[in-house]
Symmetry: D2
Subunit: 245 residues, 4 copies
């Protein structure tokens, strides 16, 4: 089996506009994420909002096994046509890992069917992520919990469909909890939402965060099978009394 | 507790255009569904595609506890604005029962986040619906299975998210199976998809079908609680070290 | 519909042995729970460990719609024969609400198929229970969260099967989280696990706790249908080629 | 990563007692299953009921990543001590693939928490297994459905907890349906129940059946992480007001 082809998509605006954020992620959040994946198991490429077609041409997506998505302040600028293209690829099997503020991206909301709204607070508070599904491959190599000293808070109620599998739950210093690692399938594709990663904190350098993203990319890898045949199935598989269709 | 306010929505085109179908449902599919609900527990009203605002004004929806939806050939004519209005009401708690070809309605696809595609065949074949969740309130009063002598076939793969609860599975004479009774929650709202009901068959006069729809309407009844507060939650519930927000 | 017949089962040892605990629950935890249910919708009776057959005769269980279970220090004294009797009734439709340290009862472990182990700490710390399923009938009448000033801590990992529906998640002052409100179905029966209720704290007088237990009892009410027929089904429903069974 | 260590457990009584069955599986069902797994990805060993400790010594289980289980007529002869040993290993991460009549094994019932009862009929009828989770790794390499010309029928209601993931649904010639491929997690272990495999039919030579079992073994592979720490956690992770524990 060859390497998994991962495309890391980043809005890449904060890093250009704010020196503070640039100092945390000098090459952009996407590069920090890609660096964390490493090249042993992955063939990594990047795409950003301001690339032509947001870097997500039909060809690019056809050659992507797993797409990682970070966006925040410019969700509205992502063209519907590209959203629909990504959506179609997910239903056909491409994995999707949605990070942090990507909860409000068009693609995540379209796949979830809910508002994906939540509570939030920027107080640089402590977050402790607890493993609630200890046998799940996404938390392999993670202890019973891990901590992020300073993060933005996301709190319940998080308006998502009940996850197919809930893997992580966050405790926040300020008194909130959050379902932080959520697995879904849509069509032939697998989707993982992972909470951490505010742009002002060095979260994507954290080894536990990197392990989770690496595991999630592997978990979300497509299976190789034909897309189901939908539509008219006139010829029955078994005889039907009185029917000669 | 007063009666549940149920609005039955029907596309209501087949019945006008085809004498054959009109002979099955002379007053429209919606009336047959409403008649099956009965007025003991429900206060029933009707809405159809060709009514102003498709019969689904803001006021009408605010006064609807559970919306039942039957549509087929004119999904594309349902205005996006009305779809968004129904969507918003579901997230705020209104129940939604989607019947048969409503699987391809805009509102169901929007709430599911998938294509909702399936296999189908019009061969008037036998369908046998098996109860796979015998403790579920939606199948109260139903035996181990029930049969419909002649129905359109819907077959797997049915491209829906994994149901929160799977209640019924259909066996078809022609060799197919189908997940025929599927429960979901979205926001504060409950959604039930129920397969049977092709326009050429007298399915909505069937006592078992009526029992399931009646139970589903009760199951999908809204709970009475405030909509969650989303967005900025600047004031923490607990002190955060170094934060005076 | 008549009143729901609820039996509240309590180990009833702590209250007899400790004056401190007796001062919190002078008539036993069961009485405080029953008082919280009220008699408007429920016909309440009580059963305790030291009653003959632990108060759970075959007849008693046949006349119980929902059983509420509180146990802690004497799980081992509950006879296997009675456990099997309760188990059988749950599979046949009786609802079961398991409270707090009941997580380690024989009946809960038998129904879950896991160790039901967890982390715990008696530090009288603050617990805040967040609603994560805002449309669920079990949290009707509850705000976005509610607090218990002093409770025993139960922390993840909680070794249970993934709940069919997760309704509440607890935040603890000492840094832990817990899945505090978990729905399951087993056979025809519905089971709700609800975390709070350490014997040294007046938790079962708390109005929010009482509301949840009241709602849970209603949610767990049996449906009225025949038990499925299992075993040999020699006569096919459809003809089988070459078979004349 | 080395090869996955799979132990195939077989009751191995039918094959000894019946010449008909022996003619189908001359070396026992276990050997046919093992042959289907192949040695490319697996290191295979065998264990049977009449071996000392049923072939499942503590050491053997410690060196088993995934256990495959076929049993039928002698479930009662499996010693409780061995059942508990297997159970403990599953909670600690060992995968378990339960085949066909293994639905009534002590170990499966203990892990499910239900009766695991079902309808059955030996009429040698046709079974068609439909994929309902097309992106799931367990059905990689399988078409939209596959057929077994002659099999025992298992029909709903199948008294299992709702699967975490439902992968396959069977259509039977005689008019029944069945949830034929069911995923669960228990503790750190993953469990897959797979329906086909009556002892009188050459089902375990079928290429699709073999593919599913091979995929299931890989899917059920343990993750490598420490078992969670349960029990007293006296020292809080965060300061608790008024507590110096």
């Amino acid at each position: 089996m060859g390497k998994l082809r991962v495309t890391v998509w980043n809005e890449f605006r904060h890093e250009k506009e704010s020196e503070t954020i640039r100092s945390v992620y000098p090459n952009g959040i996407h590069q920090a994420i890609g660096e964390g994946l490493g090249t042993t198991d992955f063939e990594i490429s990047y795409a950003t909002l301001d690339d032509p077609e947001h870097g997500l041409s039909e060809e690019k997506l056809q050659n992507t096994d797993v797409l990682i998505w970070w966006g925040h302040k410019a969700h509205g600028e992502v063209q519907d046509e590209i959203v629909n293209r990504v959506y179609d690829r997910v239903l056909h099997g491409m994995g999707l890992v949605v990070l942090h503020s990507g909860h409000f991206s068009k693609i995540f909301k379209k796949l979830m069917g809910t508002s994906c709204d939540l509570k939030w607070r920027e107080a640089g508070e402590k977050e402790r992520l607890w493993v609630v599904a200890p046998g799940h491959p996404i938390v392999e190599g993670i202890g019973e919990f891990f901590e992020l000293e300073h993060e933005e808070m996301y709190g319940e109620h998080f308006d998502i469909p009940q996850p197919d599998e809930l893997v992580l739950v966050s405790w926040f210093e300020g008194g909130n909890v959050f379902r932080s690692g959520c697995c879904y399938s849509r069509g032939q594709g697998k989707i993982f939402y992972f909470r951490p990663g505010h742009e002002t904190h060095p979260t994507y350098y954290n080894e536990n965060v990197r392990t989770v993203i690496r595991n999630a990319a592997k978990w979300a890898a497509p299976t190789t099978r034909d897309y189901p045949k939908y539509g008219k199935a006139a010829t029955p598989l078994e005889p039907i009394k009185g029917y000669n269709g």
